[in-house]
Symmetry: D3
Subunit: 136 residues, 6 copies
């Protein structure tokens, strides 16, 4: 019996969209107000989805407390109340779009959770804009 | 790297469920209070899900602003504050159930978005009733 | 000890904003797309707030089940899946703006709940537009 | 044309996580505060997802009212305002983790809905913790 | 300049409504399924509202972190994953209706927050049922 | 008949809490991670509440479209995708705590809406932290 277990966490961060290989006019044209050199910010909501077999002894796919602690250690404690472009090494050379943030988070969590668990994440930049990534 | 990008839009519309091939008693029996000849209405929430490769230069699957503009042009500007049965050609000969509205919206959006992007939609008729369609 | 007890109910209805004393051009100018002669609709959420003393024997201001039944009998069963302009006598001669719907609902509920309970209502036309009325 | 129809219902219940084959210290270590011998509780939200062909006459995959009635008869009327461990036969010999509750609910609903409809369920224990199961 | 600062916290608990001065039939008649002798439960959401002057040096009415810590120490750490009737001294002789829980929480918080801050609380038993209390 | 009309808008912004009269150690001690010199950010939700008489001809306290346009012109167009500390003159000499942002927004809106309308605002910094201000 394979069940997907989902846990929602959040972090509040500043970011700016910018491609250093382009001049300012191109950046402004492509990224619009998201290119503001002084940054803007979001309350990000992150949902982690792990799929695996249910352990007959515990009735768990994974202890939700363990899951929560790993998400906080790998992601939210590193990103919360940070400027993603300036404070987080993951984005020193990577534009922090929702798509790229999701890719980085997925890689972090893939390394942290056991291999037999399938992993998907959903990252909400706002209530109306969000992305999903499952490593493919 | 393939990511799914999701955008939520909404529209407020009146509708009525009715099959013109049936008599009134049958329509009333099948569709109940949704068959009210004077219509009722909903705040519809539409989530559009597009899956594609992340462009290495922008970090985008698609510019969310482009995505939003297409959804508004193809769907919400056409349906918002309308009577789906009377005002919208799409439903002149099609019963506007959530399933059928989702089918029509999917076809509109499939024609508008580039072919390399996979498309799924979720349409909420109420917070408790919703449908999903991916063209299959 | 005075506590406020709140209960949320909902109804789905069609409506149209229109002042019969004005010509069509004026109505269109004032009410815009809400003036559509074929109606549009909403999922209305209604929150009823009753303030009163806590009964020492029950620990209740009012039995929430009684409160729910009265709201349904007086309001939601009458308005749900209806066209407010055409099907509901309350709006035969009253423009069904959120403000006016709230006034009518408040009067209905004021007559139905016991006098020693203070009454306020909140009516959501959408998640972003709502009104409050307390009889003043 | 295959569409997925989703319906959300809810129930409020008490439960306790416990494996009778383990001693108290092990149960406390594994299940932590969820092992409280006097129980705790949740507002569970259940979303049922049914995928099937749209009937050309009705425009429905399934009548949402039929779907709602089956969910209430099979699940929420049985579990609502109950102690899952003590009052519900389904959990007399099964630890009521979210994963196991989802498995039991899926089996109940699988037997109740017609075979040509694919079935998935989502069970929210809290807004932040939830599970999904589709019978695999 | 007086501002109201609001903080939401939550706890998951079991409870049962029961008046020991009444016989079982009366309790069952008054409290219905909430009288289940084996308990049921809820995800309670608690919003604390504090009104006071803004400190010109900090720009705070109160440090939200201090506010959160006091709410957790006084309320949610005591009630979370507990059976309110059996595990919490506050309800040994008090029926844990939403109204009474709100009264007890207000008293706890009134003693913990400084006197110059006005205090109101909102307690959600479910998304649809909630109460407000401000000490009057 | 006096009704309160409420409209929700949002903006995404970066900010940092800092008192320039204090040294870095004091700022860090008082504001903690909110003092990050590189900023963090939020999705702010703003609810504007206007109380006034219902116009008998329109059934409106105020045209919600006018209300929305004023909020956008006065507040959200100025603050959205901005760094409040660096880009917004309102906070050049004012620490952008939720309390202070609410005070500035209230003053802006008080000047923009007609005097006979009572004004209150609610500003959500996160789903769990928010403030209310009504000019007193």
């Amino acid at each position: 019996m394979k069940v997907t277990v989902c846990r929602k966490e959040h972090f509040n961060a500043a970011h700016r969209l910018h491609n250093p290989e382009w001049d300012d006019a191109t950046n402004q044209k492509v990224f619009g107000k998201c290119n503001n050199p002084n940054y803007h910010g979001h309350n990000y909501d992150l949902v982690v989805h792990l799929t695996g077999s249910v352990d007959a002894r515990t009735g768990y796919v994974i202890d939700m407390k363990v899951m929560k602690d790993i998400i906080r250690e790998e992601v939210t404690d590193r990103y919360d109340h940070k400027n993603l472009n300036l404070d987080v090494a993951d984005f020193k050379n990577l534009n922090p779009t929702a798509e790229n943030i999701a890719g980085v988070i997925w890689n972090r969590l893939r390394a942290a959770f056991e291999d037999h668990l399938d992993l998907k994440i959903t990252l909400y930049e706002t209530e109306r804009n969000y992305v999903e990534y499952s490593g493919n």
